[in-house]
Structures are given as C-alpha cells and as structure tokens.
Symmetry: C2
Subunit: 440 residues, 2 copies
C-alpha cells in the first residue's frame, strides 16, 4: 500500500485532503495528515478509512524525517519558507514531492539530483501558480501546433468575494493571508508591452491598472504583478512583444488602496508607536501634513488630489475618520493597518468567496490577428469549502492521484507547463466545475 503524507492541514488544504482521503479505500492507499494541531488534523480526516492524523512540529528534524521515511509521496502545504527543507528531506529519503508554491532558486538547485534519483518534484500546481500555467499553456501549445504566433499574453487572477457577499464598499474581505494582501504590490513590477520593457514602482502600481471585464460579473481592476518578464522563458515565449501577469480587485479598490500606499500606511520597514488609546483618525492623521486650520478629511483631500467620493467612502467605511480605538498601537504601519482591516474585512460564516482568472491573448494567424479571452470563475461553497481552497487543492490532489495511477509518467523537477501533466489535470478539474470559458 502506497502512502501519501500531507504536511500542514491549514485553511487551503480541505479539498486536497477530501479528494485524496476518498481515494484511499478504493485505490488501496494510506493518507497521513501531519499538523501541529492534532485535533484540527483529525477533524479534517473525518475518520475516513486508511487515514491517520499525526501531530508534528515541522521544525523537529528527527520527527519530520521519521515521518517522511514512512511515505511514498510528500505534499507540502507549509509556509513557502519550509518547502526547500522538506524537499531536501525527500531527496535524501527518495520520496516524491508536490507543492502549490513557486519553484524557488533553492528548489532549482536540486534539479540534477532529483533527476538522477528518478523522483518527481512537482511545484506550482495550485491556482496561481498552477491553473494559470496549465490553462495558458494549453492555448499556447495549441496555437503553436497550428503554426500561429502569440503576440500578446496578459493573465490576471484574483481571490475575491462572490457578488452575494460583496456587502462593503471595497467589495473585499480577507480570503487569503492578510499580510500578503496588505503588502501586495511592493517592489517594482516588470513587464513588456509592445516590445518595450516597462518598470512600475510601488507608488505607481495601483495607478497603472487595466480594466478587466467578466461576463455577468462586471468590472475589475487589474494591476501588474512583480515579475512578468521571467515567464517569457517559462512559457517558451522568449520573442513575445507583450507579456503581463497581474492581480484582480473589484473596480475602484485600487484607487482607494493607493491612498494607503501614497500616505505610507502600508510601510513594513520600520516600527512606530502611537500613544496608548489612539484611534483610527489619529493614526491616519500621523501620515498627513500638519495644518492647524484643516480637519483630517480636508488634509486627506489635499494630500490626495484625485480623491473622489467612492474612494472617500471606502476609507470612511473602514472607520478612519472616527474614534474607534486602534487594535494595535505598536508595530509597522502595515502591521497596524492589517490589524484594523482584520476587524473590518473578516469573513462571516455565511460568506462565499470567488476566484476569477482571465487570460487575454493576441495571436497572429494566417487570417490575421485573433483576440482570445479565456475566463474562469469559481465560487466557494462556504467559508470552509472556499473557492480558494478548491482551486489550490484540487489541481495538486489530481496531480498526485494521476501520478500514483501512473497516468502521469514523468520524473524530474517540473511545473505543470507540459501537456502530459496539464492535459489530464485540466480534464479532471472540469468535473469539479473548474472550467475556462473561451471567447475568440
């Protein structure tokens, strides 16, 4: 009996666990779920046959290695920083390794050793990265096989709220790591447009947005991700004239978020200390110029010349003009902002999230330039069975299932950009309603 070991049973692993646990009896496999929190791991396994929950402190090297030694396949759902450590254990003990995270430089350095041991290390097999690669590569390979040329490729993805739950002016709540949301866009975004390299610093990134439309959902803001240039090589599009990967927010979000960026409230590089008992209004005021004759609202309007009512309303809704006490008075501006937002942007139990992804291609064909858009919309079932958990966990679960069934026969270090991997996964994902709609 082959054994699958899942390390980390956090929020986004529920679909992964369910899918793999359900294969254990019919396919004669064993599933071990190791987590710091044993009760949580047990409850996620629901006493399904051939499954076992084990408490594990991942920093305990001995325990970790003992556990990995028992498995045939290891899935890391741990924070990204842990992947290289687990991957090295797997290499040492001769185990296959799967993750939904970016293939890091340290992972890449293991490539030849992975190959020589005949193992499969598959990373970037979640949503973004994951489904984005698979769905895009299918279109790219299809075009290339017809002798067509990709002139332009833009790809946007967002983890948002189902319209049903868009009950605040931001149309946003945290469905993902809040810290990543607060720090999103930091660094300089790089892409190529009509052959020109483009560099967008943090203080511009939420201004340089593209309007993205989804049928039946309406309008979204798309802002460029940090590094789109390196994907030219990954996708075999070295000669492409336009290539941009970006993130989606509801229309209007970026303009309002940019207020925090411009004023410095998202700065994570230094620690400040507000007087005990300070309120949100005082916190905002600390980032505005001193002017004894103006109110906070007036100073804000002066500091942000293109302030409009929808933007003002969003800031107001969060409580920044009122006297609610700061949930945190000591920390970086970003940490204090996050603490505020975690109160305002918490999911209710009845909330449903939504994943949206859109690829926009311009393809040179014998009949001229063809525009193709391919869109994915996935709704969550509830605040546990989220669209995020579904789209991150299922591609990974399906990849593991196919590999164990020998329907994916490949070894080495990979991301899912090759047809042998992405074709069967995409086919299976459609059974779960994860299906792109193409318009050409």
């Amino acid at each position: 009996m082959k054994t699958i070991l899942i390390l980390g049973g956090g929020k986004s692993s529920i679909f992964l666990i369910d899918f793999l646990a359900d294969t254990c009896l019919p396919k004669e496999r064993k599933l071990i779920l190791a987590d710091l929190n044993l009760d949580q791991a047990k409850s996620k396994l629901k006493n399904k046959p051939n499954t076992e929950a084990i408490p594990l402190d991942i920093e305990n090297e001995n325990e970790r290695k003992k556990l990995i030694a028992r498995a045939d396949i290891v899935v890391s759902m741990l924070p990204a920083i842990m992947h290289p450590i687990v991957a090295k254990d797997c290499l040492l003990l001769g185990k296959h390794f799967f993750s939904a995270s970016y293939e890091s430089e340290s992972m890449k350095s293991l490539k030849s050793e992975i190959e020589s041991k005949g193992l499969l290390f598959l990373n970037e097999c979640g949503l973004d990265p994951g489904i984005d690669h698979m769905s895009a590569m299918k279109i790219i390979h299809d075009a290339k096989s017809k002798g067509e040329k990709i002139l332009s490729f833009k790809s946007y993805c967002g983890g948002l709220l189902a319209p049903f739950s868009e009950d605040n002016p931001w149309k946003y709540k945290f469905t993902w790591n809040p810290k990543n949301v607060v720090l999103a866009g930091q660094g300089t975004s790089r892409f190529i447009e009509k052959g020109d390299l483009k560099f967008v610093p943090y203080q511009q990134v939420f201004k340089r947005i593209e309007n993205i439309h989804f049928d039946r959902l309406g309008e979204f803001d798309g802002y460029p991700n940090r590094d789109s240039l390196s994907y030219r090589k990954v996708y075999g599009l070295e000669e492409i004239q336009t290539m941009l990967r970006g993130t989606l927010r509801r229309a209007g979000y970026c303009k309002a978020w940019d207020v925090f960026v411009q004023l410095g409230l998202t700065d994570d590089s230094f620690q400040l200390e507000m007087p005990e008992g300070s309120n949100l209004r005082q916190f905002l005021n600390a980032f505005l110029p001193y002017n004894k004759d103006l109110s906070v609202e007036e100073k804000l309007a002066e500091a942000i010349p293109d302030m409009d009512f929808p933007t003002f309303e969003k800031i107001q809704w969060l409580g920044f003009f009122g006297n609610r006490e700061l949930p945190l008075t000591k920390g970086s501006p970003a940490a204090i902002l996050q603490a505020i937002l975690e109160e305002d942007w918490a999911l209710n139990p009845e909330d449903k999230d939504m994943i949206v992804m859109q690829h926009l291609f311009e393809i040179k064909t014998t009949e001229g330039i063809k525009k193709v858009s391919s869109s994915l919309v996935v709704f969550g079932n509830d605040s546990i069975y989220t669209a995020m958990a579904k789209t991150v966990g299922l591609p990974l679960a399906i990849a593991i299932d196919l590999f164990m069934d020998k329907k994916i026969n490949i070894t080495g270090l990979h991301i899912p950009v090759i047809p042998e991997i992405y074709n069967p996964i995409l086919t299976k994902l459609e059974e779960f309603g994860i299906k792109f709609m193409e318009k050409g």
Copy 2:
C-alpha cells in the same frame, strides 16, 4: 611626541590634514596619514615636517593594528561601515578615537569599556552631524539656563553650490557621495509637529517640503530627514512639541527630483537590463505607461499631473528627452540614474560649493514666544578646498587639537552636545569664517 593617525585621505579630509599637519612642528606632534593610495596621501601632506604617509589596505587586520599601535589618537575618515572595526582596535590597543560619522549601535555597545579604559571616543564631530549639534546645543543650553522652554526646533542643512556655480536649472552638482544623493529620502521620515507624530514615506517626502529662506541667497526647499524623533533625547528635549531635522536643496529641486521618485528611477532594489545602445529617452520611457498615441513628453505630463515648466526644463536639461546613449545599461534604476547624473552634475575645476545650515527655534520666554533663527553659510575655495571638506574636517581637527592640548578634558563615548566640547570648538571655528548669524 604624541602621534595622530588619520585613516583615509579622501576628498573631505583636506582641511583636517592641513590643520593637524600644521600643528606638528610647533606642538611637537607626529601625523601619520594612511591611505590605500600612497601618492595621494603624500601629496596631501605636502612634505610638512613630522608627517608621514603610509600605504594601507584597511581590510588587512595585521597591518591596521600595527599602525594603530603606533598612534595615540586615531581619526577615522573611512566609510561608515569601517568605524566599528577601527573603534574596536582602538579599544583593544588603548587609543583615543575620533570620527565625523554617526554614533552607531555597535559603537554604543563599547561605551562602558571605553569609560573603564579612560579613553575618549568622539563621534559626530563633523558638519551634519557635528556643527549642527554644537550650534543647536549652544542655543538650547543658553535658553534652558535662562529658564526658557524650547517649544519648536527645526534644523536644516544642505551641501550645495555657491550661487557663482549654479549654472544649471537644478542649481545642483555632486559635491558629495553621488549614491547618497540618488538614494536620499528613502525609508520613512519621522518627526513630531505640534505634539503630533508625523510619518512621511519616500513617495511623499519630496512633496512635504518647507520653504526655507536665507538672507542674500534666497529660497530653498527643506525636506525631512529619516529620523528626527531620536534627537529629542540626544538634545535633552524629550517634551518638545515640534522637532524636525531636514535637508536643503535649491527651490524647485525637490519637485523635479520627485518625478524620478514617482516613476521609480531611484529604485535600488532590483536589477534591470536595457538593450545595448539604449538612450536616455528610452530609459525614461520604460517607466512610463504604454500609449502608442503619445510622445514620451506627453506620457510624462500625464503620469505627473502637476508637472510645470521649471520641472520639465530640469528633466530636459539632463537629456531625458534626447538620444544620448545611456552610460550604463545594466544595474538598478538608481545606479543607471546615478551614472547619467555623474555626467551631468560633475563639478568643473572652477566650481565652488556651499554649505548652508539653518536652525529655527520657538522659545517660550517670560515675555512670550520668541522666534530665533540661526544660519550658517560657508563657501568653498575651489573644487579641492570645498566648503564640505572645510565644515566636515575643521571641527574634527579642532577637537583633536584641543584634546591634545588638554583644553578638552573628558573621557568616555561622546558626541559634541556638551559645553566643554562644543564651546571651544565653536569659538575656534569662527576664526575660519564658520560662524552662525542669529536673528531673533
């Protein structure tokens, strides 16, 4: 015969060397100048009696320690990163230590050991930090002794050009480390204004300027330095309502420089590669949104809504709308910008620089609130005997001379904020024309 060892004979050490070398014969001292470049060191000593130039690679621990062992007093004119290393050598070998650089945390950690060995380690004894501390503390101590209370203290300093040499629209050339000028303002500036903490991120710092006036020189922009809050303690002004330290540029400079900040050209956090042979116009274009219908000039005007002619003219004067080839195509945006500016902002041999410093106090007296301004203006003699070298080097040289003459009798770790140190130095500096003009 006591021996002074100067480590590093770079640009800003000429007045320091001249002053101390000239004391060697009358006061029976020896001066050693150690530098990587022996010829440069020799030429700076001009064969004056009791002086010796020695070649030294400061990274060579053995040689360095051997040399320090020969000295009684060590002056570090090395890059700031070397000070703690040299300071530790001095502590080990029982030598006094002087520098014009900030007292670092690692320097502070040596405090009790310095005291127990009866040594003097005097840092921040140059211009800024240095003359700023001394001149401000004189006013602060004077007010306190009269029972007055400092309500507000703002202090600005700039290393600029004598009006004589202001022959470009920026009224600026490099008289100081170009990299520091390009990266100036990065991080978040912190100060206190009328009792309110104020935080200004990089993307706001060149907008939040104060107009500063100097008699006979005219108008300057003052922007806040990174950390003004910690100086409350240094100056014994823990209760002060307004405290700000800032940097001066000629009026209009900050608005134009902010264009580079907003577009991301001062970013030092990632490496880019422009195609070989790219010109300045193409480099600027890489930071502007794509728009096939607009010229670079038009895109710039759209990206920077408050662009005015004086700002446009400054960017144009640097060559950003023309086809001059980039002096560097690979590096961070900041490194490429610096390479461009080093061509445009190079001092001519006939250029003269200028140091301006201004303290602005509001002091509560028995007769009401008194406003006091105290201003310093120093011109350079030429491009070697600069105002920068004079104002950095002379306070340090005078401090050493006074200490060796036992006119400063103090040991321990210090910066020049105590009357015993600053009074005799300020008096002596007046002989060299370094004298504040007070208006009350």
